[in-house]
């Protein structure tokens, strides 16, 4: 692998050229301080001003709403699967969100391959932009070990001043750089500068979680009756925002929609949220997680225990979106630290 340099003033050209072949989604400002991934005419990433987008880029792989089947019911049911995908580039994905996609890759390939996801993923090229400074106060990527990323992207660009120090990870990444970017080969001094800037960033990213992340499953296994859940039960509104903005939340509901002719229709899935009141309600009306505290405990366990144990990886990527979006200021890091504090006995040194 050879690393290359793309001048900052030529990044817009790369972005624009990619649009010849791909639908390109980049970061743009929606309103002051709030960013979204969207199809944009030009490169509009705020770079050092960047804060995590309102929704993570998972929406291009696992859309909020997605058709799974189309059917005709008359005279007899006739069903066609729908698996939509297109050649797309996600441009400017930060390490936390790359980890989010890596984790969703595991989920949708495990046990039964979910082709509605995997076929979109196979058609997607990810151009990452690395972080040299913490993006905002809620970020805790380093605390969960996800500042560094060495997989799950095609190209990674690092802002080293006037240029992006650019590496490709996959043959597709190399191909689109050669085809669409104006670049120079990186010299040794460029590589030295890049490595120096990467190593200097370490001190700027604080470890906010008060234990090694690998200890968390044990803490959470033993925290079912922790008072923190009672406290959160009284604060949480059960609104589901933390689920919706999370890069690794993937629960969904499935429902049918009929056309007005009442003969044809679609089966769709849409994002669901385990913190919503009716998430675990069965048809007899029984709710297996009736309280908000129980549902929030479930959500934290999904991130730091259940899925973490199954896949040996934290399912919190440290983007801080849940904390930022919570209407009652429930702070993920504070909650995890409260669990740690109350259960210190479970720590492995």
């Amino acid at each position: 692998m050879k690393d290359v340099l793309i001048k900052k003033k030529e990044i817009g050209l790369f972005y624009k050229n990619l649009k010849e072949e791909f639908t390109v989604y980049g970061v743009k400002q929606k309103e002051k301080g709030f960013y979204v991934f969207d199809e944009t005419d030009e490169f509009s990433d705020p770079l050092e001003e960047y804060k995590p987008t309102i929704l993570p880029p998972k929406k291009f792989l696992f859309p909020q709403q997605e058709t799974l089947l189309r059917f005709n019911t008359q005279p007899h049911p006739d069903i066609k699967p729908v698996i939509g995908s297109k050649k797309q580039v996600l441009f400017g994905v930060r390490p936390c969100d790359i980890h989010g996609i890596r984790l969703l890759d595991k989920i949708f390939n495990a046990d039964h391959e979910d082709k509605n996801y995997t076929q979109k993923r196979a058609m997607t090229i990810i151009v990452g932009i690395d972080c040299l400074e913490p993006c905002y106060e809620h970020a805790h990527c380093a605390s969960v070990g996800y500042l560094e990323v060495d997989d799950g992207y095609d190209i990674m660009m690092t802002d080293i001043g006037d240029t992006f120090y650019t590496s490709w990870k996959t043959p597709q990444g190399e191909e689109i750089i050669r085809k669409y970017a104006k670049f120079l080969e990186a010299k040794n001094e460029d590589t030295d500068k890049f490595l120096r800037m990467k190593s200097e960033r370490q001190d700027r990213f604080e470890n906010k979680i008060k234990t090694n992340v690998s200890n968390l499953p044990l803490f959470f296994k033993n925290a079912d009756n922790d008072p923190v859940w009672d406290e959160l039960n009284d604060r949480c509104l059960g609104c589901g925002r933390c689920n919706i903005v999370c890069p690794t939340c993937y629960c969904f509901d499935v429902y049918d929609c009929m056309e007005l002719n009442l003969a044809s229709g679609e089966r769709c899935r849409q994002w669901d949220a385990c913190t919503l009141k009716d998430f675990a309600v069965v048809s007899t009306g029984e709710n297996f997680r009736p309280s908000r505290g129980q549902r929030l405990r479930h959500r934290f366990n999904r991130k730091f225990n259940y899925l973490m144990t199954k896949y040996n990886a934290s399912f919190c990527v440290g983007c801080g979106r849940c904390t930022r979006s919570c209407p009652v200021n429930i702070d993920l890091v504070e909650t995890v630290n409260a669990v740690i504090k109350n259960n210190r006995i479970h720590e492995k040194q």
Partner: protein, 275 residues
């Protein structure tokens, strides 16, 4: 799975026959339109689709030795099951499955079996009971306890009668609220348990019923010292996908659809949300 293309694509099945069992429960028999043979383990379930209404998980109630069709006991509880109740012979619907793991039939071989069915719980257990009766010599003593709320809610009365007449199995039925014509036992199902003489190490208890039943049945089984690994329970949870993705049926770290819906108490006791 038959459909390797989309996980969500059902195959088309047709209703062969229907039978009203009680006011709330209907038995429907299905075949696939290409008449493929069914191969399943008792305790597994299918996702039934009425297109335009939705999908619902229903456990298979027929014997796995009948490979030409499957029978399902459907309680009218929500939109999809209400729509299924309206289907007539010849109607077509969607089906995915069989899904789940089912009962551990291999481990049960050679053991005494104690079936404990509450209400609609008889539906999935009926598949397993008929399986064990077909392979009667593979199992030792077979006892069936069945509890219904009212005499009118007793499922499969004719079949219960043939089980009662067999000399090689024992059946006891109780109803919570008897009526004037009821001559059998009354009271909750756990009332049938204290008098049971069991060889605990050699017994498998197979339990399907409403959530409230499990707590009390478990207590009785623990008094009888049945090993935790030999207590098998089937759990009901909300399910959307049936294949371990949508998250609805998750209990702590396990997926009911993928890892169950039958679990041993040995597994469930580590899952505080299970019972």
């Amino acid at each position: 799975m038959k459909n390797s293309n989309s996980l969500f694509l059902p195959e088309i099945a047709k209703v062969v026959s229907t039978r009203q069992l009680t006011a709330m429960e209907k038995y429907i028999e299905l075949k696939t339109i290409d008449d493929r043979e069914f191969d399943f383990t008792p305790g597994q379930f299918v996702q039934l689709s009425v297109f335009g209404i939705g999908e619902a998980p229903i456990s298979i109630s027929s014997s796995p030795f009948n490979r030409e069709s499957i029978g399902l006991c459907v309680r009218r509880a929500g939109d999809v099951t209400s729509a299924i109740h309206k289907l007539e012979p010849g109607s077509r619907l969607g089906m995915r499955g069989p899904l789940g793991k089912g009962f551990p039939v291999k481990e049960m071989r050679g053991k005494d079996l104690l079936f404990i069915a509450g209400g609609l719980g008889l539906a999935p257990l009926r598949s397993l009971i008929n399986y064990t009766l077909q392979k009667r010599d593979d199992f030792a003593r077979i006892r069936i306890l069945y509890g219904a709320k009212k005499p009118g809610e007793i499922l499969f009365p004719d079949e219960l009668q043939t089980w009662r007449e067999r000399k090689d199995i024992e059946l006891e039925i109780t109803v919570d609220t008897p009526d004037q014509n009821w001559t059998g036992k009354s009271g909750v199902i756990t009332r049938l348990m204290p008098s049971l003489k069991l060889e605990p190490e050699n017994t498998f208890a197979l339990i399907v019923g409403p959530p409230v039943m499990y707590k009390y049945v478990l207590l009785e089984l623990q008094i009888k010292q049945i090993p935790e690994t030999n207590i098998i329970m089937s759990l009901e949870r909300r399910m959307k996908c049936g294949i371990g993705k949508c998250g609805h049926c998750q209990i702590n770290g396990v997926y009911v659809c993928l890892d169950g819906p039958e679990f041993s108490y040995h597994t469930l006791k580590f899952l505080p949300e299970a019972i």
